[in-house]
Structure formats: C-alpha cells, structure tokens
C-alpha cells in the first residue's frame, strides 16, 4: 500500500514537471527552427510591405510591392509566372505520378532486382547541384562533341550542332527533363515501402468481392491503403519542385537565364534580392511563392489527408 502511494505521488510530481521538461527538451530544436524558418518567414512578410535597399532603413510602402508584382513587372508576368507554373506542374504532380508508377512496377519484382533498379533510379536525386550541372552541361554542350548533338547528328535529325542551352525554345524542356531525372528522391522511397506494406489480405478480399484487374487493384486498394505515404510523397514532390530553382541557373551558368526562358520565381527573388538589392520587393515575391507552395500543399492534403491538417 505505501509503496503504491509513493509510486502514485512520484508519478504525479513527474507529470507536473513534464511540461517544463518537454519545453527544455524541445528548446535545442526550437531555437534554430525559429531563427531560420519562423523568423525569416515573418521578416519576409514584414519587409514585403516596405522599400528596403539594405543601406537605408526600410520605408513602409503598403501594398505597393504586391501591386507592382502583378501590374508592372513584365518579366514576372510574361516569363516568371508562366514558367513557374508550367515547371511546377510538370515536375511536381508529373514527377509524383511518375514516381508512384515506377515504385509500383518495382514492387512487382523480386527483392534483389528491385533493390538494384531502385538504387539506379534513386541515384540521380543524391547527386547534388554541382554534379547535375556538370553532367547535363556535357550532354547538351553546344559543339559537335556534346553528347546530345553527336547522337542527333549521327541519327540524321540535326545537321548542325545546336546551342541547346542558349536557345530559349529548348531551355525549359531541358530543365524539366533534368528535374524529373533527379526527382526520384525520398518520396519515391516512401512510396516503395508504402506499397510493400499494404496488407495482402486486402487484395484477397477485394478479388473475392469482384475486383477484376490490377488497375482496379491500384485505384481501390493500393492507393487508399497507403494514403499517409502518398501524402508524404506529395509534400516532398511539391517542395522539391519549388526548391529546384537553381537548376536553370546551373545549366545556363548565369542568372537570368537566356531570354528569361528558364526564369523561375526563386531565380527572380535572387535577382532582386542579391543582384539588385531591392529586398522589400524580393520579400514580396517570397511571400507570393510561399503562398503558392501552401496552396499546392492544401490540394495534396485535400486528396490524401485523413484528417484536416490544423495550422
């Protein structure tokens, strides 16, 4: 009896202190999280209502930056906005569907070939910007020794080497190919293990209930039973699509890209922030970008979320 009450008391006092303890345990993560994620977002929002050139104090200008973005900034309206949407739609949802299909096909194979093929397909996503730039500048190099030019000339499709990376018409296409090539990352791995972990009895039951083919199998069983992994994969795909802005600059070797053909909103932000030092305007662009990313994510949660996400 006495030992039990001691235990109870002990548990109670532990519980009282638990909030404080939890706070202390979270603090080491919370500090850098706040400094480099929360505060920058807040600063971006505040600065977006100002004119700020780094040297003078920020001057409040109200909504002027936002108005300028959507009425005056011809590069933004004519190039950056359509580019960003085209790119993000193809690389985000497109890459996502592609990685699901590839992941699904891989799970239809035995373990050893599956692992080898999955490693091959995952490899490009861990190369990093330097390697990606080197590879694809070599492939699309503008002289006849460039791999793409050589192959196309051998096949008789081209008779003159083409300056792929200087031709605005091809630039976006190349950016998309390269991005999709390197997009099979952690979300792709999550999907493989999601598919492998679907309870087998579900398939069995569904076939008894009249499921006819594997397409139905995917739609009615596989995807609904791995919604959490699908959502994780979707969030990763969206973030990746908007984070890959450097790809155009790496391929072209300069910001802005030729004729703004591959200019994405992140490049536009860098252009105004670090080249022209119009920080207020760059901040307004950042806020627009964060809102767009947020909207894309809401859509993903709408599709795959099991409960409405709170925030």
């Amino acid at each position: 009896m006495s030992s039990l009450s001691i235990l109870k008391n002990r548990k109670k006092s532990i519980k009282k202190r638990e909030g404080l303890r939890a706070g202390l345990l979270l603090l080491p993560y919370a500090i850098p999280f706040s400094m480099f994620i929360l505060v920058p977002v807040a600063v971006a929002i505040v600065l977006s209502f100002t004119f700020f050139d780094v040297i003078n104090r920020p001057a409040f200008t109200g909504l002027l930056n936002y108005v300028s973005i959507f009425t005056q900034d011809t590069v933004f309206l004519k190039n950056v906005l359509p580019n960003t949407f085209l790119y993000a739609l193809v690389v985000g949802p497109g890459g996502y569907v592609l990685s699901f299909l590839v992941a699904w096909m891989l799970t239809q194979l035995q373990r050893v070939p599956r692992t080898i093929l999955a490693l091959c397909i995952y490899t490009p996503s861990m190369l990093g910007s330097v390697f990606i730039g080197v590879v694809w500048r070599a492939v699309f190099s503008g002289d006849q020794a460039g791999i793409a030019n050589y192959l196309l000339m051998e096949m008789g499709i081209l008779d003159q080497p083409l300056q792929f990376l200087l031709t605005p018409d091809y630039f976006m296409l190349i950016m998309i190919i390269v991005s999709l090539w390197s997009a099979m990352g952690i979300g792709f791995l999550a999907m493989i293990s999601g598919i492998l972990n679907v309870n087998e009895e579900l398939y069995e039951a569904a076939y008894v209930d009249g499921l006819k083919n594997r397409f139905q199998e995917i739609i009615y069983i596989t995807i609904p039973s791995m919604k959490p992994q699908m959502l994780f994969g979707a969030v990763m795909a969206i973030v990746n699509a908007f984070n890959m802005g450097w790809i155009g600059v790496t391929l072209a070797g300069a910001n802005p890209t030729p004729n703004y053909a591959g200019q994405l909103i992140t490049n536009h932000i860098d252009d105004y922030g670090f080249i022209r030092y119009e920080m207020g305007y760059a901040a307004a662009l950042s806020v627009v970008l964060l809102l767009v990313v947020y909207l894309f994510n809401r859509l993903a949660y709408r599709f795959f979320g099991e409960k409405e996400e709170r925030a």
């Binding site: 235990l7 638990e18 909030g19 303890r21 939890a22 706070g23 080491p28 993560y29 919370a30 850098p32 999280f33 400094m35 920058p40 600063v43 971006a44 600065l47 096909m105 891989l106 799970t107 239809q108 194979l109 035995q110 373990r111 093929l117 490693l119 397909i121 490899t123 490009p124 190369l127 990093g128 330097v130 390697f131 080197v134 590879v135 070599a138 492939v139 460039g146 791999i147 493989i192 999601g194 598919i195 972990n197 087998e200 791995m226 919604k227 959490p228 959502l231 994780f232 969206i238 973030v239 984070n243 860098d270 922030g273 670090f274 920080m279 901040a283 964060l290 990313v293 099991e306 709170r310």
Partner: protein
Amino acid sequence: MRRKTVKTRQRNSYSGSRINPSRFSRSQIKFYLLLLPLAAFMVIPVIMIVNRAFMPLGELHAFPPRIIASNYTLNNFKALFRLYSTTGVPMSRYLFNSVVITVLTVTLNLLISVTGAYALSKKRFRLKDKLFSLNQLALMFVPTAVAVPRYIVIVNSGMLNTLWAHILPLVAMPVVLFLIKQFTDQIPDALIEAAIIDGAGDLTIIRRIIIPLTRPALATAAVLSFQLVWGTVEASNNFITDDSLRTLAFYLNAISTNVSVSAAGMTAAASLILFLPNLIIFIFMQSQVMNTMSHSGIK
C-alpha cells in the same frame, strides 16, 4: 448458371499477391521492359561522369565523344588537388571546412531532433499537438524563398563570416524531426514508464532507449542531413565573404562553371568527389532507410 459463376470467380480469383514476389514470372517481363531503359537513362549520365574523371586529356576531347574511358589515369585528381583558388586558398582547406561543417551539422541535427522527437512523442503537455502541426507545416518550407530574410538574420546575429553561418541554418530540418518522431511513436510507453520507475532521467531514457530503438530513423536522418549539408552552396554564396571559410562544394562548383576546355577532366573529378560520400553512405544505410520510410506517412 451456378457453374458459370464459379468459373468467373476462378478467373478473377486471387492467385496470391503479386507484390514482392519470390519467383520470376512471365508477367514481370513488361515491367522489366519499362524499368530497364529507365534505370539506364538514370545511371548512364552518372557512369559518364565517373569515367570522365579518370580519362586522360586526349580521350576527353576525342571525337566522337566517349562515354567509357579506354585508359584510366589519376591525373585529373592530382591536378585538382594541386589547384589553389584565385585568393590563394588551397583545395585542402576547403575539404577541411566541408568535413568539419558536415560532421558538426549532422551530429547537432540528430541530437536536437531526437530530443525534440522524444518530447513530442512521449511527453504529455498542452502545446504538443500544435507544435507537431507547426513542424508538419514546415515540411513544405522552401528555404530558397527566404534567402534574403535569412541573410538579415545572419547579419544581425553576428554570424556573417563564421562557421556558424554554415551550420545553424541547416541543423533544424523539419523532415528529420518528423521521421524520428513517427518512429519514436512505435516505442511502447510501458518501456519508458518502466525506465522512469527505475529512476532514469530524460537524458538516460534518450540515450539508453530512444536512440537504440530509433536507429533506422536516425540512419535515414543522417543520410538526408548529410546530402543536404555536403552539397549545399547557399551559405558560401550568401553568408560568407571570406574565401578561406567557404566549402568544397562551393569551390568545386566554381571550378565546374568555369567552361575552360582543360578543366573538363578536373570538373568531372570534382563532381565525383562530391558525390561518392553520398553514395557510400546511402548504400550502407539502404535497408535502414527503407525501414524508416514505411513509417513516414503523414496521417
């Protein structure tokens, strides 16, 4: 009539799952026909650069362009290591910076994430769910969007031109906290309670229970964090003006964008140096990563 239904049943009937099969069957051929060319498209560019890194100068500029080297040489690597930056910083200095920054960042990242994940998973307090949702919201954070405000934070906290400007912006990775927390949720509460009754404090619990039992998640976190830190050029570009504090990735990137013809082999060698650690770590951690990914879902 009855026979017919039986027959259709049989045709539709479940012939054992075809997911993760243990034997080869003819129905797999179509998948191989699609997957093999895809895998080739994914790895051939990588193989090309690996070969270029070891190609002698003559072959690098041979026509038609070569993908596989016929002679191998280490000259490209030797030339790379002999190189000094325009400001007289030797390559070894950049390598040293990168190693120090990467080791510190990955270690700090794992430590703060595992303690944070433990608190969010096993402690009972009021803001718990709110804080986890906030971290989940931050999964969709796009760092490049706030490069400018980050720069302002770095300047105002006096971190400009210090090693901390490399490390601190990368130590809190929402995806890492998320994965470790999901994994920690699998550890039974009874185990933690038993340890508390035995007089273990939080740090002991983390050291003796959480870390050993979340090893797959920690391995995955290490892979992700390593890849991010080792290859990034953001800090070197934006937060550092002192050349001797920049990283290998920055320097090799600077060499690789230099289009001069003689640099082709060195560029490939540089890319390979940056890539190899990623590949080796991933291959070692591969099964742990897959194990973690099965708990990665967002519910």
